[in-house]
Symmetry: C2
Subunit: 262 residues, 2 copies
Amino acid sequence: MPQTVARSIPDRCLHCALRGASLCRLVEAADLPRARPVRLRRIPRNGLVFEQGKQHGTIGMLRRGYLRKERLNRVGRRTVFDLAFPGDIIGELPGHSLSYSLEAATDAEICVFDDRTVRRMMATDGQFRLGLLQATADQLARLQETIWQRGALTCRERILAFLVLSARAMPTTPRPDGSIIVTIELARKDWAAFSNTTVESISRVMSQLSEKGLVKTLAPDRYWIADPAFLARLAGMDPRADCAPPQAAMAARRHNRRDIAA
Amino acid sequence: MPQTVARSIPDRCLHCALRGASLCRLVEAADLPRARPVRLRRIPRNGLVFEQGKQHGTIGMLRRGYLRKERLNRVGRRTVFDLAFPGDIIGELPGHSLSYSLEAATDAEICVFDDRTVRRMMATDGQFRLGLLQATADQLARLQETIWQRGALTCRERILAFLVLSARAMPTTPRPDGSIIVTIELARKDWAAFSNTTVESISRVMSQLSEKGLVKTLAPDRYWIADPAFLARLAGMDPRADCAPPQAAMAARRHNRRDIAA
């Protein structure tokens, strides 16, 4: 009689459509003896996830919410240089320490991989290494897009570019007329930091967009966008380029929609 | 009698100390049947290496010189958002197209891997995948440093930060008094683009530094730096952080020194 292996996948993972979930599945499939399961960690808004220089070899997947990647300079000033989105692999590979801090920009949930299991998977599982390579390459591509935007776009264009990104990677409700409603849970100050601008500039640009009937603020975290594609052209973005890799963005959106429906 | 495998490593590769050379050695060691050797490609200053959106699955290692990573926006304006340094792996993984153009900022030499060999190595060789993951993670770390600098440092500090980077990653001659002479082959306009500033600002800052006896321009591409560590503090950089991963920077410097001595 064939042996039946009944491994318990938590209920919350059954419908996980996030990109990083491929790594969970590989750990599951490898069925290593004494492998420890992924641990769910909840972090309240503004809580510290990983500390600069302190984290060694711990990786996880952001399941819900958004994280700020921050660095302190010599005089202690803190700068946000990037955000993590649902589905992103976060932390550092074995043998490396984190060169920045990760803080929760919203309430967040992280699936933390067991360090020893990661080291064993890295040593034995080619698909796992390939998955990590892909996740790292995706983040490199997104950061290349961000750094390009910071150099090539004006302040106003960067604010528009963030709205375009949110329409691609944050929870959205499409409307029959082609417009969408997007939920941006991030605080304005984090949006401003990510777009390398100020909260005041965002308010000013949002007023202008509202006057032109392009974007309306429905609630502090909900925005109506008449035409995201038009916004992308207005931002001077390369229409071929995506702020987030389309596959990852779509997976995150599907996931978020299901969460909202639940 | 044991079979002797005599594979011909080109003379130019015998003493290659560049970081990316580990991938060449893995291809060599894998000894795949019908694997094609790495091909040396020379590109004159301002020549196109890879074109945005056109390159599919070709990777190479930058052996000599520096490359600009550029993107066009919708109205055709070109922006440099990053540079490639000797030892960097360039291009894209199989199945991906390049989201930016690569142009030679100086005369450059690239060791181009054979596409089919790369695909086979990716499929069969775990160490090769690990090497690519490491190279990608290194570039992500460097870009995180750059994007942080663009947000956290002033224009003057970013110019200083580039001098610190050059002292770490470009050919240098140490002097008995602890000062160094560094060769910066890059045109001022590329330095300005990388530091998100203008050629005029660089000239102004260099004059100020010269008046204070901190940096002197010896020739258009050679600079004397009294104390790189002091410059890093002056730039407000985190002293723990390196612009280039120290290992890669040191390897590139050793390599460059040998080239200059030869």
